[in-house]
């Protein structure tokens, strides 16, 4: 799960007279002190470097694109989860949703940094200066929950089941950075999936109202499930090199998990066709729903007002 609590523990000021901590502010706050960086310790922990060489036989452009796919899924979905801050139905859910957003943001930062290393720029230029069409995330990541908790739960169930299946297989990726993100991410996604499954049961098998809302949420989300198993050209080439996993191969596992949870929650697996593509292209090729543009307009607004600025 998130890393910040251990950092808090590790660097907390333990003076019983906290005023000392206050007075020593400027002396203890170095600009480049690594303690201030959140979510970047993960690659070092796993012994992999952002600057690791590209595995043999791999086109760096493909690898960069694949890191964007995995990174953008996490970044954009993290943004949507962050919309819940101060809006959740209970404080426990405030903490859990923010924690999930933080975990995914941590994954996104490493993957974007890896991509930037291969193609130029840095994590922030990729996050804040790309246009909609340059984002490679799936549609499921970019939908808004519109503060409907059933939608939040349904999306987290589907997304985390799918991403866990991917990361499980990427632990052995030939790319050391992807392998490191996957190793840490498996633990995080296991928790996210468990959280979402528990809430699916509560809502599905709770009251008549919650049952109806949970079913409606699954019905609304289901058309975005098909895209999760569509293999892009970059993925197809990287599978051969041992870097990527073919998402189509995760379908059976994902279906089995979802069926199990949906049935136990007394819900019905929706029978809805997948939303259409445009000339065969969808999120992985930079063709998105109308929702992404609004999310990015908000996310990028301040960074774009101050180009070339350090924060």
């Amino acid at each position: 799960m998130n890393v910040h609590h251990t950092e808090v523990e590790g660097h907390a000021v333990t003076d019983t007279d906290g005023t000392n901590a206050y007075q020593s502010l400027s002396e203890t706050t170095g600009h480049d002190d690594p303690r201030w960086a959140f979510g970047t310790g993960i690659v070092e922990e796993a012994g992999a470097e952002i600057t690791s060489p590209v595995p043999d036989g791999v086109d760096p452009a493909d690898l960069a694109a694949y890191c964007l796919m995995l990174g953008d899924d996490a970044l954009v979905y993290s943004h949507r989860l962050s919309e819940w801050v101060s809006n959740a139905p209970e404080l426990e859910e405030e903490v859990a949703l923010a924690n999930t957003a933080l975990d995914l943001l941590g994954q996104a930062r490493v993957l974007l940094a890896r991509s930037a290393h291969l193609t130029g720029g840095d994590e922030d230029s990729l996050a804040f200066l790309r246009t909609d069409a340059q984002f490679r995330n799936v549609g499921l990541a970019e939908l808004s929950d519109d503060l409907d908790f059933a939608r939040a739960v349904g999306r987290m169930l589907i997304f985390s089941t799918w991403r866990l299946a991917l990361l499980d297989r990427l632990v052995g990726s030939a790319d050391p950075v992807i392998a490191a993100v996957a190793a840490k991410g498996v633990k995080e996604l296991t928790y996210h999936r468990d959280y979402a499954a528990r809430w699916t049961l509560r809502l599905g098998d709770g009251t008549d109202e919650s049952h109806a809302r949970m079913q409606a949420a699954l019905d609304a989300l289901w058309p975005y499930v098909g895209e999760l198993f569509r293999t892009s050209d970059e993925e197809r080439r990287l599978v051969e090199a041992g870097v990527a996993v073919d998402p189509a191969l995760t379908r059976e596992e994902v279906d089995a998990v979802l069926d199990q949870v949906i049935t136990k929650a007394t819900l019905t697996r929706p029978d809805k066709p997948a939303i259409g593509t445009i000339g065969g292209r969808s999120g992985r090729q930079g063709v998105h729903t109308e929702h992404l543009g609004h999310a990015l307009a908000e996310m990028q607004s301040l960074a774009r007002q101050h180009p070339g600025t350090t924060w």
Binding site: V13, P89, A98, G206, T309
Partner: protein, 325 residues
């Protein structure tokens, strides 16, 4: 409090025992006898503190989606998540006094209980995130560190944990400002403009002047409060001045000057009329903050009902299984 097993004894003895505990600077625990007024004062204060953590998520949460770098986004998201956690510890501490979270939340959204007035000010630029960390969390730390020694055990213990995290948040806020004042002219101007808006409201966080603070004396006698409002405010001013110098920002008080005799800074009078107006509900964001909290709570009602219904069903199923065939 150690010896209060004799609950059938006359109230006078209980009160004498309570007074001894307070007098000896020991902790009162939930099962100990305590005067009703002490209990009420604590409930009011802890609830107000819990509400402040929860309402405080709004002004900072206002910038999570627009944070200008991913690192700043992670820091802010983690901070706001910590505040939800602080709210949870504090509501749990209040629950040891016989009130539940739901009841307190109802009082918050019906404006029967208050929260720190500072959160009735809006966050208008990203510098506000840094200034809230530096000044608002700094003032909160000055107020809260003595509470780690508060006479009521559960509150004191919650505060130990909270103060550690607040101190971390404060340093992160200061570090953001340091980065901004070392950045572009626009960033520097943003920091100064933010300090201009937050300085006086931060001073008001210590409450009214001592000669206009009717509840202070009783709270100090009970060991709930350890220093007067003006003492804490003075300490905060004295600590903030060198910090402002380190940042190269000007504190917006022409009367702020070192007084060699007092070995402290003299400073101007906050606008107490503004303070009273904000407390009375007409600050810049009071209505917005309460409406937001009310909306979130009401939108979540069906979720909480579902969780309860599910738990009831599970319990009933477990009972059925226990019954022998």
């Amino acid at each position: 409090m150690t010896v209060t097993e004799d609950r059938t004894g006359p109230e006078l003895d209980l009160e004498a025992g309570f007074d001894r505990t307070i007098g000896a600077d020991q902790r009162v625990e939930p099962r100990d006898w305590m005067p009703e007024a002490y209990r009420k004062t604590l409930i009011r204060q802890i609830a107000q503190h819990a509400h402040s953590e929860i309402i405080g998520m709004q002004p900072e949460g206002n910038w999570i989606l627009r944070a200008p770098s991913l690192r700043r986004k992670a820091i802010l998201l983690a901070k706001v998540q910590d505040e939800a956690g602080h709210g949870m510890y504090l509501y749990a501490a209040a629950e040891t006094l016989g009130v539940d979270r739901e009841e307190l939340t109802e009082k918050l959204i019906s404006s029967k209980q208050k929260y720190s007035s500072i959160f009735n000010y809006p966050t208008l630029s990203y510098a506000d995130i840094g200034v809230i960390g530096w000044l608002v969390d700094g003032a909160a730390i000055c107020n809260q560190v003595p509470l780690c020694r508060c006479s009521y055990g559960p509150y004191a213990r919650a505060m130990v944990r909270i103060c550690k995290e607040e101190s971390f948040h404060q340093r992160q806020g200061f570090e953001l400002l340091l980065a901004m004042v070392n950045g572009t002219d626009a960033q520097k101007a943003m920091v100064q403009e933010s300090v201009d808006r937050w300085w006086w409201p931060s001073l008001m966080m210590f409450g009214p002047p001592d000669d206009d603070s009717p509840n202070s004396a009783q709270s100090m006698a009970w060991g709930i409060k350890r220093h007067t409002n003006d003492e804490l405010r003075q300490r905060f001013v004295d600590m903030s001045v060198p910090q402002a110098a380190a940042l190269g920002v000007t504190l917006p008080d022409p009367e702020l000057v070192w007084n060699e005799d007092r070995k402290s800074h003299d400073y101007g009078e906050p606008d107490w009329a503004e303070f009273k107006a904000v407390i009375a509900g007409s600050g810049p964001a009071n209505a917005q903050r309460v409406a937001h909290r009310r909306r979130a709570h009401e939108n979540g009602a069906w979720v909480r009902e579902a969780a309860q219904a599910y738990a009831d069903k599970q319990a009933a199923r477990a009972r059925e299984q226990e019954v022998p065939a």
